[in-house]
Symmetry: C2
Subunit: 180 residues, 2 copies
């Protein structure tokens, strides 16, 4: 069977678990011998979008570029996994429209919990005004209205449980086979 | 057999046949059922590098981005074909260093012949000073010193003959099978 590609798009606030869960999903898919590429927002910025900032326009450009790379990977049979805040619904939907197999995974976690955890210390800086244009603090986040998967990363689910939900969704869609 | 990926990198002046020959190579590879993606410099600019100009720095950034996309495609088993002027040797060699299977194809054609042909009318504009930073006119082109393939597109070879040379090189390297 030739592998069918798809785009698995993780969206959510900083610290909501996008990188962790996307890496877990990637690991599970690779164990099945599938071709997988993770496009992590921060990493991609150094390769594709050096010089871009965090204005709406620059964020949109960055997301469009990640979306385009997902598009060419998935049409060549790769499972492309994007993990990027991607705060604007309209641009995510634009990316969706160009990716025939698009699984949007919303990492749901209230910003209050993320502020409390603040693993990278970024929320503290944003609240102190040392960083501006920080999503969830002084920049908007528009949650998806109809995501294929919602992961509750506020403590209700472990990362493994969240990853399992994504894998179930891929199985339901016939993109991967049921585990024996 | 799982397909092994590679990066086939066409470099040469504007009008030297990069797009034509790369499309022919892509067509021949697709006929064999292989996964192929062509990254044409002009097309990629709209997706990855909108806003970049033709200064050395901007050209380098554009080439690095194309090189990075080739890298992630080829490590996932796709034959990535880039067709971009890519005038600077150092950046091409940088891309080569990150792409383990790298086939550099130099489209060799004297600029005098390209000026005479001038299919797109760009050389006339560059010579008249209406376009600046035009490779081969007022911007440098550094030919590869050790390309895997040289195509003589000055009239000595037809596009099909040039494409055949590229395919032979892929066969020699064990990247595709000999035709039965």
């Amino acid at each position: 069977m030739t592998q069918e590609g798809c785009t698995i798009w993780f969206t959510g606030l900083s610290g909501s678990g996008k990188s962790t869960v996307s890496q877990l999903v990637a690991a599970r898919l690779r164990e099945r011998g599938l071709k997988v590429e993770v496009l992590d927002g921060d990493v991609v910025r150094t390769h594709l979008s050096k010089g871009l900032g965090f204005s709406k326009e620059d964020r949109d450009t960055n997301i469009r570029r990640i979306g385009w790379v997902c598009e060419i990977l998935s049409r060549n049979g790769v499972m492309a996994i994007a993990a990027a805040i991607s705060p604007y619904r309209e641009i995510r939907d634009e990316v969706r429209s160009k990716n025939p197999q698009f699984i949007e995974v919303y990492m749901s976690c209230p910003v209050e919990i993320l502020i409390e955890r603040d693993a990278k210390g970024l929320y503290r800086k944003a609240l102190a005004g040392e960083i501006t244009h920080f999503t969830g603090v002084d920049d908007p986040y528009e949650p998806p209205l109809h995501p294929e998967v919602i992961c509750y990363t506020d403590g209700r689910e472990t990362p493994e449980q969240s990853a399992a939900k994504v894998l179930s969704s891929l199985t339901e869609r016939g993109l991967i086979e049921e585990e024996g």
